[in-house]
């Protein structure tokens, strides 16, 4: 492989991962506030279909992206309303929406199947795109990929470097304390779930109007990405930067599967496509195992040196969810 093909491959990964980046950022924001939006898989499909349909009918690609965001926000609103206002299980409502939105996208998207629609074109940035390697990697992408780069930075800065972001962390970790300090916990949960939902909804058109342009119904190959994004959010330990890294890692693994296909002719292509999943489970295991009780007990029985080593190792990998994730907040 020449250097050029590698750079083109890597630039392709950055573009192909943009939808997953939006999805994990959105889910991270929502879960940071304490709400699991499990509907992601359906939301992405419905917004991909809706975004494509609107862009196709109006011939306006921006309108397509806005439609996707609107769909994501609306689905998130249902999750928020059912869980925060009506006290229903977030997991139950989210799961039902995941299936319903998926079927709805196939049902409503039927007339749009296989139509040649608008697609975002690459938008090289003058001067910057001429920088060797870096230019080809980062500055010859399409608009939505640039927005995905900016979104990572914005969300990270918001969560870790601003006052409202600090409050957001508080709402997820200790809602009672945040409430005492003047935060309207449930209102904030609504707001972050809806904003997060809009970001998740951006993932759909980022597929159907850019990296995988068009709508192909059940064979679009988009079914499943939402579930992956959900596990990447955990892999990211609710840190936007680490979550985005997880999204790129997943993109890299998928690309690797494609590249290796001609080499590993024995293995059917469908198997290589799902190869990231066992790896995802493994990483989830590594991230979570430090939280298990028996690990603490085993560690305590170990000699001092070994214990310190393993404890350090586990702490480096470990990610704990926001303490109030999935727990309704009631002031009393």
């Amino acid at each position: 492989m020449t250097q050029e093909t590698i750079i083109i491959g890597l630039a392709g990964i950055l573009a192909a991962s943009a939808p997953i980046v939006f999805a994990v950022l959105g889910e991270t924001l929502s879960e940071r506030a304490g709400v699991i939006n499990l509907s992601m898989n359906g939301t992405i499909l419905l917004s991909a279909m809706g975004g494509f349909a609107v862009a196709y009918t109006t011939n306006n690609i921006v309108l397509g992206f806005l439609t996707g965001m609107l769909i994501g926000a609306l689905v998130a609103l249902i999750v928020a309303f059912a869980s925060i206002t009506l006290n229903q299980s977030q997991v139950a409502v989210g799961f039902v929406l995941a299936l319903t939105c998926r079927d709805l996208s196939y049902f409503l998207g039927n007339p749009y199947m296989g139509l040649p629609g608008p697609r975002l074109q690459a938008l090289p940035i003058p001067f910057l795109s001429d920088i060797p390697i870096i230019g080809a990697l980062f500055f010859r992408q399409d608009a939505i990929t640039y927005i995905s780069f900016i979104a990572i930075i914005l969300v990270w800065v918001w969560v870790y470097r601003t006052r409202p972001g600090l409050m957001l962390q508080g709402i997820g970790e200790k809602p009672a304390a945040a409430y005492i300090r003047g935060a309207n916990v449930n209102l904030m949960r609504y707001v972050y779930t809806i904003i997060g939902g809009a970001l998740i909804g951006l993932a759909g058109p980022a597929f159907s109007l850019a990296s995988r342009a068009g709508w192909m119904g059940t064979i679009s190959g988009l079914d499943g990405f939402g579930w992956i994004a959900l596990s990447i959010t955990i892999f990211g330990g609710w840190n936007p930067a680490r979550a985005a890294f997880g999204a790129y890692l997943f993109g890299f693994l998928q690309w690797l599967g494609l590249v290796l296909q001609p080499v590993l002719t024995q293995v059917p292509s469908q198997v290589l496509q799902v190869a990231p999943f066992p790896l995802m489970i493994l990483t989830l295991l590594l991230v979570n195992i430090g939280n298990a009780e028996w690990v603490d007990r085993t560690l305590a029985a170990m000699p001092e040196r070994t214990r310190k080593f393993f404890a350090k190792l586990l702490r480096a990998m470990r990610a704990s969810p926001p303490a109030s994730l999935g727990v309704p907040f009631e002031r009393d």
């Binding site: 229903q88 799961f95 929406l97 319903t100 079927d103 409503l108 579930w227 979570n288």
Partner: protein, 348 residues
Amino acid sequence: MLKSRFSGLLFQLIALALSFGVVSLILISIDASPSEAFRNMFKGSFGEMRKFAEVLVAFVPLLLVTAGLLVTFSAGLWNIGVEGQVVLGAIATTWVYRYFLESDLPPALIITLAILGGMIGGAIWAAFTGILKVFGGVNEIFGGLGLNFVATALTIYLIFGPWKRPGVASMSGTIPFPDEFSLPLIENLRISPWALGIALIAIIIVFFLLQGTYFGLKLKAVGKNFRAAYLLGIPTWQYSMYSFLICGALAGLAGAMQVAAVYHRLIPSISSGYGYLGLMVAMLINYQAIWAIPVALFFAALNIGSIQLPIVMKLDSSLSGVLQGVLVLFALLVEGARQKFIKKGQNT
């Protein structure tokens, strides 16, 4: 008044009416006639004996999966991995059949072994989720989802790899088994009374397990309050594992039925989404085993009835999924609203 059983039923009827209303609106929005669509779906599922038999074919795995999920839900577990457990049941059944393909054992014995193999296969796959949860701290939703994808990949690998048809491998699955390996079917119909009987017995056993045994009581204690159950001396993690194993075995049984009574081979989409659909049924019946039979039958009828839609009305058959989903969604929302009313009533 709102607390009574009558109000619960009333609210559920409201949910039913709302969902049919919303789906009608969706149909009107794309210039399709709701009444025509619903009529076609009804005709497509109950119109002829042959079609009703198809409904029962779908009803069997759905009821088995629902029965299993009632056990995990009782233990407070969200066994989303049930879909993969159905697949592994089908794979294990196929494996046993292939193993005895040339043997002289009586077919009835081979069928029995194959079905038992399916149950073990499903239980082992469920045990993975359980072990990940209990010892690895991995939430059962994420472990289960990942394993679902692995199960699908395994199926495709087997169909295109070691178990491929002589000549060329294809998406139509492995080579079909000889007729004597099939559970006996009713003449001219595709439904096996044995499969139907097994599914009904399974739900009855689960009903009594949860309602009438000490085991069921402990399981529910673990599900309601894990910490309190632990402090009361119930071995909580063992109970979590038991519930995974039982659910996995029943899901595996569903997969076994798909192979032994319906397809007679392994196909890529062997689970047909019945695992996920079972989760919907369990949620809609609010985890009450007694309602499992009518609701699973209704959902199976919607699935089969919608097959007509693309042919007769040029509508996508996913309408059944939309209707099922909207129905469960409204059931949850309406139940939430009812509880809210009750609370308000108590406060004033």
